[in-house]
């Protein structure tokens, strides 16, 4: 349901007369703010011990570099007060933990201490279904009916509300394509997801990840996609600041961007034929 507007935008841009052009816009830059990318991803079939948290700051819109943030103390605690420490790979803003212990349904608390301010967030580890083995390819798919299109399936759990995040990495883009879905209209069904692009060609490797996510993270991610431009065009919803679940306990107004999520993930690779 959630991507309807995007399809509509695509169709409107099909007016032969409409054109898009990259333009230079004079933009202001706000004071830098902390961004915490704390994504605990438990890939199925692994122990999930290796985890990474990234700290950076916001920067000017046209700046190609994202400043890393070093020197933070980061720990994640579970409900039994087991503490998992994240240690910085010096100077990179990447904090690594190698003994994390993920459990479905367990609640974890993140604590980041930086420059005397403490940031916290709490999240539950959400299960993900398996991506079914029958990944299909259709060479007459996509918008114009002439694109390579792959589709894959997964089973929704009919006994609960579920939210999913899809991440697809392929050679057609330098960054991942994301889609957030819910099961509001398809409770308990075999779900189908598509990916297509006019530049896909035989031999291209496609990496598919399916995350189980919380409802709040689902809401967050949809706002994030709008802000990233993935929901753009003349029918875009008014974008705003996207706040995640991270709270500054020391100085409430000085919140951090980003999110603390704990998700199970199923991963599949597919090679375009």
């Amino acid at each position: 349901m959630k991507n309807i507007l995007r399809y509509l935008v695509i169709s409107c841009c099909l007016f032969p007369l409409a054109c898009t052009k990259v333009v230079e816009v004079d933009l202001e830059t706000a004071e830098p703010k902390l961004v915490i990318d704390a994504s605990i991803d438990w890939i199925k079939g692994t122990a999930g011990n290796e985890q990474k948290i990234k700290l950076s700051t916001t920067t000017g819109y046209y700046n190609p570099v994202f400043p890393a943030v070093s020197g933070a103390d980061i720990v994640v605690t579970n409900s039994e007060n087991t503490v998992f420490s994240f240690v910085e790979n010096a100077g990179t803003g990447e904090y690594i933990c190698s003994n994390f212990h993920p459990v479905i349904g367990e609640t974890y608390t993140l604590k980041v201490v930086l420059h005397g301010e403490t940031y916290t967030a709490t999240e539950t580890c959400i299960a993900a279904p398996d991506i079914e083995n029958n990944i299909e390819q259709n060479n007459a798919g996509g918008f114009g009916g002439d694109e390579v299109e792959i589709s894959y399936y997964y089973q929704d759990n009919g006994n609960e509300e579920n939210y999913y995040l899809h991440r697809i990495v392929s050679p057609v883009s330098t960054f991942p394509d994301y889609k957030a879905e819910d099961d509001g209209n398809s409770q308990g069904n075999l779900m189908q997801e598509y990916f297509s692009d006019k530049d896909l060609k035989p031999g291209d490797m496609i990496n598919i990840r399916l995350y189980g996510i919380s409802r709040r993270y689902y809401d967050y991610f949809r706002k994030l996609l709008t802000a990233s431009g993935a929901g753009g065009g003349p029918f875009q919803t008014t974008p705003g600041q996207v706040r995640g679940n991270i709270i500054n306990q020391t100085h409430f107004a000085n919140f951090a961007y980003g999110y603390f999520r704990v998700s199970e993930v199923d991963v599949r690779d597919y090679t375009v034929r």
Binding site: M1, N3, I4, Y7, S11, C12, L14, F15, P16, L17, C19, T20, K21, V23, V25, L27, E28, T29, A30, V35, D37, S56, T58, T59, Y61, Y62, N63, F66, G144, G145, S173, T174, F175, P176, Y178, G184, N185, S186, N189, Q192, D219, K223, A227, S228, G229, G232, P234, F235, Q236, T237, T238, G240, Q241, V242, N245, I247, F255, Y257, G258, Y259
Partner: protein, 790 residues
């Protein structure tokens, strides 16, 4: 003492009787001689008695005078005046038919219906356009469009090229009451705003009320666009048509019974594949529409009209996306003249708008619609030459279907479902008076009482603390609440009701024959709302009725104006200032997903809106060169404060610009009749870019770059301007043959300006770098249309 009172009463009654006995009424209908169409707004003036009136929407007039001998002058712009000597000995019925002015070179008149400003009538904030004017204006691809024409009027704008609908005086698109032969039109656009649903060939005239709205109209807060279809020639058969770049059209009209009844049937259709570059592509975008109208004059006192419309848009991207939407209405009206002083019209109207969408990637087949049954009964009561009453009732029953959901095919994961239908009943009673108080002062005052009743069958959600939207103080975000229970209401059981008195007042004070000052106040209530959180209205937006969460919008508007005619009506100037405020303007929580939402109240916050501005219009009404210059300086804002001290609301509860807010809006429209064969038209438009929100930075999260946005709508897109030209060539203006043809050549956006419809801030897929992309809809577009009449 007692005798004195009786005497006084006697004196009053006798004098009253004497007064009424002395006076007689002249009434009738005014039509166009050549095609028998009735003329609305034609003026009837009796110089000796210094009284005047104008015909109503059905061409009917009524004027009351002392018995005697008079010269009566009937005038209407673009028509030869009629001067007739008349002996009034008793109540008299007299119809007139007017002749259009010939296009001789000495006296070329382009039929500007809205010519010299009306000095003495309290009517203000109203613009009229004749269809002849509209047809002379250059249009995109030569496709004549009345909605594009009204954008040239002061106080009227739209969000961007190709956007659906229009904004009046900072009001939202859904605040416009758009009536075609009195039937409500819910979506005015074909091809996603490229063209309007109104076929210019079948339209007789249109009137746009921006303020001072009479009590007979209600149900929307912003404006009334009142459009009438032609009645058809009741003497001869004719065919009118045109072949254009996007669509072709054909209209047939003629008598059913000569001099008594006539019909009009008109159709338009686009050429399906035109909109796609790839001719071999199975994809198609197309539309068609059909207008029909019959009228029959039973006798002098009774006339019946039947009109209908059906229009449909299709968009079919074979295996990806299918979309269609359609408007339809059917209307039966009965004009009845009770007496030479009492005119009535009863209407029964059914209208429907539906929207369908199929998306392969979602596997959904979704249909939504709104339909209504509308009953109207209106009386115009000509009490005296100084006082005309207008009163009536209006009753509308609505049925809203927010969505019927079906799986698109067997493989689709979508479960079939029906989002609960909603029912409502809107009623109104109104009375208003046109009152000439003195030679200088005229008034129009009235009161409308509107009520809105929500009816079952429905399951209504109940929320803890009646809060359908929750605020999370830790994360400072709004979230959808979950209902704690539902209450079931049986069919036709009352769920909630609203009632609002809506006073209306307009005053004009004539300084002299050429200048007047006018002021108006109106209150309007709106009970149905277009649910949209996108930067511009899209056909996906659905209508929803007011309920305990989505409160009725209530608008108050005041306007003040100065009107002046120069050089005997050759030029006129209209200047108006307005201020309006709307209570209960809803806005949406961040990230709200509105399509197929089962409980809209979970994403709505209640706020308010205001708009204010200054409008100037300078017109040249006669001569070879006619046209107008309009300028609007305005601001439209919205505010959604938190519900308590803890909540920030939207944009911290501060005022923010509406998405369609444009500070400056200038338009120059001109028509030039060079010779009897050639005429030219031109439009220049300059507007401040619409409000936008630009990033104030960005960050990286999970491998993607996320723009970080600042305060809502604080920026403006680059200025919007373009020049359009047209030329009309009539090869044989003097031809006595039945077949008459003309060519219209047009160029839209002559200097090929790339106006920004929006700016998209996104990551380049190849480089991963952040960039801003400008979307512009129309570059330079030439067009040719051939029009004919037979």
């Amino acid at each position: 003492m007692r005798y004195k009172i009786i005497y006084a009463l006697l004196l009053i009654t006798t004098s009253f009787r004497a007064y009424s006995q002395e006076k007689v009424t002249l009434s009738g209908t005014i039509t166009i001689k050549t095609n028998t169409e009735t003329i609305s707004g034609a003026s009837i003036f009796i110089p000796a008695a210094k009284v005047s009136t104008v015909t109503n929407a059905y061409g009917f007039y009524s004027i009351t005078l002392p018995r005697g001998e008079y010269t009566i002058v009937i005038s209407h712009v673009g028509f030869e005046n009629i001067e007739e000597h008349i002996m009034l000995t008793g109540n008299t019925r007299k119809d007139f038919s007017m002749l259009e002015k010939s296009k001789t070179l000495d006296e070329v008149v382009v039929k500007y219906n809205n010519s010299a400003s009306n000095i003495r009538k309290p009517e203000m904030s109203v613009n009229k356009l004749s269809i002849a004017t509209v047809k002379k204006m250059p249009a995109v691809m030569g496709e004549v469009d009345i909605l594009k024409a009204i954008l040239q009027l002061p106080g009227v704008s739209n969000a961007q090229e190709g956007a659906t609908g229009f904004n009046v005086r900072g009001g939202p698109v859904d605040g416009n009451l758009i009536l075609l032969d009195e039937a409500v039109v819910y979506n005015t656009s074909h091809l996603f705003g490229f063209l309007s649903v109104f076929n210019a060939d079948v339209i007789k005239d249109l009137k746009l009320y921006k303020g001072g709205i009479p009590a007979s109209f209600g149900g929307r807060t912003s404006s009334v666009l009142d459009i009438y279809q032609k009645e058809g020639n009741n003497k001869e058969y004719h065919l009118t048509g045109g072949i254009g770049a996007v669509s072709s059209r054909l209209l047939a009209e003629g008598p059913i019974v000569k001099d008594k009844g006539s019909f009009v049937v008109a159709g338009r259709a686009s050429y399906g594949h035109l909109f796609l570059k790839l001719a071999d592509n199975p994809n198609a975008v197309s539309f068609y529409d059909l207008n029909a109208k019959l009228n029959y004059k039973i006798n002098d006192n009774n006339r019946i009209f039947l009109s209908g419309y059906f229009g449909k848009d299709n968009m079919d991207f074979s295996n990806f996306f299918r979309n269609n939407y359609s408007n339809s209405f059917f209307n039966l009206r009965w004009n009845h003249v009770f007496s030479d002083k009492l005119f009535s019209n009863a209407s029964v109207i059914y209208s429907k708008y539906n929207y369908g969408l199929k998306i392969k990637y979602v596997g959904i087949d979704w249909v939504s619609d709104i339909r209504n049954y509308n009953l109207k009964y209106n009386f115009s009561h000509h009490l005296s030459d100084k006082l005309v009453l207008n009163y009536g009732v209006n009753s509308i029953y609505y049925q809203f279907n927010p969505g019927t959901i079906k799986p698109m095919d067997a493989a689709s994961p979508v479960n079939a479902g029906q989002i609960e239908k909603k029912y409502a009943w809107e009623n109104a009673l109104y009375i208003s008076a046109d009152h000439q108080l003195t030679d200088q002062i005229s008034l129009n005052y009235g009161l409308r009482y509107s009520s809105f009743l929500r009816l079952g069958e429905q399951h209504v959600n109940n929320y803890a603390g009646d809060q359908a939207v929750l605020f999370n103080p830790e994360l400072q975000i709004y979230e959808e609440a979950r209902p704690v229970s539902t209450t079931h209401y049986d069919k036709n059981r009352k769920i909630i009701d609203f009632g609002n008195p809506e006073p209306r007042l307009a005053v004009s004070y004539a300084l002299n024959d050429h200048q007047s000052i006018k002021a108006s106040y109106n209150r309007m209530s709106q009970y149905i709302h277009l649910i949209s959180n996108t930067a511009s209205v899209s056909p996906l937006d659905i209508w929803a009725p007011s309920d305990q969460y989505l409160k009725p919008e209530i608008l108050d508007q005041v306007a003040l104006g100065y009107f002046r005619n120069f050089s005997n009506g050759k030029y006129s100037l209209e200047a108006e200032a307005f201020y309006k405020k709307t209570q209960n303007k809803a806005d949406y929580i961040d990230g709200a997903e509105l399509i197929a939402h089962r409980a809209i109240e979970q994403v709505l916050l209640n706020g308010e809106a205001r708009a204010y501005g200054l409008e100037l219009m300078l017109k040249k009404n006669t001569g070879k060169l006619t046209g107008w210059l309009s300028y609007t300086l305005s601001r439209a804002e919205q505010r959604t404060p938190g519900r308590n001290a803890e909540e920030p609301g939207i944009n911290r509860g501060d005022w923010y610009r509406a998405n369609y807010d444009k500070t400056h809006n200038l338009s120059l429209t001109a028509a030039y009749q060079l010779s009897r064969k050639w005429s030219f038209g031109g439009i220049f438009t300059y507007q401040t870019g619409k409000a936008a929100t630009y990033p104030i930075g960005k960050y990286q999260y999970q491998g993607i770059t996320v723009a970080n946005y600042g305060e809502r709508n604080i920026n403006s897109l680059p200025a919007y301007h373009h020049l359009d030209l047209s030329a009309t060539y009539t090869p044989k203006p003097d031809s006595k043959k039945r077949w008459k043809g003309e060519w219209v050549f047009s160029i839209y956006n002559v200097y090929n300006r790339s106006n920004a419809a929006s700016l998209m801030f996104e990551q380049n897929r190849e480089t991963g770098l952040s960039e801003a992309k400008r979307i512009s809809i129309f570059g330079i577009i030439p067009g040719v249309t051939y029009n004919f009449r037979f």
